[in-house]
């Protein structure tokens, strides 16, 4: 997802008997559906796992601005440009809501930024794919934001209060993102032959990377059980992926586009589609840093951070000078 393969610390889920009294009381609160707030006692593993997960989610929002930002200057109409600009601005906002939530756990914004920039923290694999044509803006909104929503809606009920509140804000804004993407796809798919071909090509390239967003299959996902017990992960990766496919295939049919999977078939018995798994080798390569755009994305973030240093320092120096002047006058 926006947070894929988040490692939880510790060695699997403890039984009640193995838990300390604090841990047992903490788990009981979670099981009762209570929210955990920043100043409450929490196991160190819960804190660390959440910092990784929320941090990764925030970084994904920030890096996620790059593939779409790529098309702002070349949007086909002024209206499309204004819409795309608003969407990319929302992603910045979503990143900021999430950074704030992570900071309540005792990590600083600068620490998180530095961990992103030097590769210690990850962001979603999806943003390491290039956006080659305008139709990709449609595919990203429709598929990538669609997949993100699938994960974020249940996270509104997550156990950590600040994360839950950030997710509620994000979800309120996110459905505009998916709809604007689908709107682009409709226009292209109902356009001339060349436009329709562009739409199909975008779907072909983004289908499997979108499926990868949910993370590896549950049978290979070693950290899921603890995260689910803590209610910081609400559904398994496979559940969400299935839900996404079931929701998206009819939408592709509506567009008159075909999903690039010859094994795609409705399975009456399970009430969902059978479909091909994405190439997990490719996924692990992208996560490791060997995707088509990993280098570009990190270079862009590093450049923005370095080039902005004088602004951050200058504004702080100005603020301090102003404060000193005011103190002297009083």
């Amino acid at each position: 997802m926006y947070a894929q393969m988040v490692k939880s610390t510790g060695t699997g889920v403890k039984s009640r008997e193995e838990m300390s009294p604090e841990e047992a009381a903490f788990q009981a609160r979670i099981d009762a559906g209570e929210k955990i707030e920043p100043k409450d006692w929490m196991p160190e593993g819960y804190r660390k796992t959440l910092i990784r997960q929320i941090g990764q989610h925030a970084h994904s929002e920030i890096v996620g601005q790059l593939p779409e930002g790529n098309w702002i200057t070349r949007a086909p109409t002024l209206e499309r440009k204004a819409i795309l600009l608003a969407k990319v601005q929302d992603e910045a906002g979503h990143g900021l809501y999430l950074y704030c939530a992570a900071e309540t756990l005792g990590v600083s914004r600068d620490e998180m930024t530095e961990m992103l920039l030097d590769g210690r923290m990850k962001y979603s694999s999806i943003f390491n794919y290039p956006t080659l044509t305008w139709a990709d803006m449609g595919a990203v909104g429709w598929l990538v934001d669609g997949a993100a929503i699938m994960n974020q809606v249940p996270l509104q009920r997550t156990s950590f209060g600040p994360y839950s509140r950030a997710m509620i804000r994000v979800c309120k804004e996110e459905s505009f993102h998916q709809r604007q993407g689908f709107d682009i796809m409709m226009k292209m798919a109902k356009g001339n032959a060349q436009q329709k071909a562009m739409a199909q090509d975008a779907l072909n390239r983004f289908w499997y990377p979108a499926l990868m967003m949910f993370g590896p299959s549950d049978k290979d996902s070693v950290h899921s059980a603890q995260s689910m017990a803590w209610r910081i992960k609400m559904n398994t990766n496979d559940e969400l992926r299935q839900k996404f496919v079931d929701q998206t295939v009819p939408q592709a049919e509506f567009l008159g586009l075909s999903v690039p999977d010859e094994n795609l078939k409705w399975n009456e018995e399970k009430g969902g589609y059978d479909f091909s798994e994405p190439d997990w080798e490719e996924f692990f390569e992208v996560i490791k840093g060997n995707g088509p755009c990993n280098t570009d994305r990190l270079a862009a973030r590093n450049k923005a951070w370095d080039d902005g240093a004088w602004v951050r320092e200058g504004l702080m120096a100005h603020a301090e000078k102003k404060r000193a002047r005011k103190m002297a006058a009083e």
Binding site: A86, Q89, D90, L96, C100, R109, E313, M316, H318, A319
Partner: protein, 94 residues
């Protein structure tokens, strides 16, 4: 030079005359910039008509371990709620 901007807590009053409500936080060098940033981060969709910013370091919060002594005393005072009193139907709306 290490210069992380201080953290500000943001409170927004919506259109319908309710109190300012905490919506989140952000970093800014000073109060003026905090208000400008809050406008961009927290009011992109007409969420508010007034913004308060407070430096996070200036907030004193109650401690979670005080929850018992702080709030339990009010639990036993049911007579503070109107539903404690039985008013006969004949009296009419009250």
């Amino acid at each position: 030079m290490k210069t992380e901007w201080p953290l500000w807590e943001i409170f927004i009053r919506g259109q319908h005359g309710l109190s300012h409500r905490h919506v989140g936080s952000l970093h800014a060098p000073d109060a003026e910039m905090a208000i400008k940033n809050a406008r961009d981060v927290y009011t992109r969709r007409n969420e508010g008509v007034s913004i308060w910013v407070v430096e996070a370091a200036a907030i004193t919060a109650s401690s979670p371990s005080d929850k018992g002594p702080m709030y339990e005393p009010s639990e036993s005072k049911v007579y503070r709620h109107p539903s404690f009193y039985d008013i006969p139907d004949d009296v009419g709306a009250m």
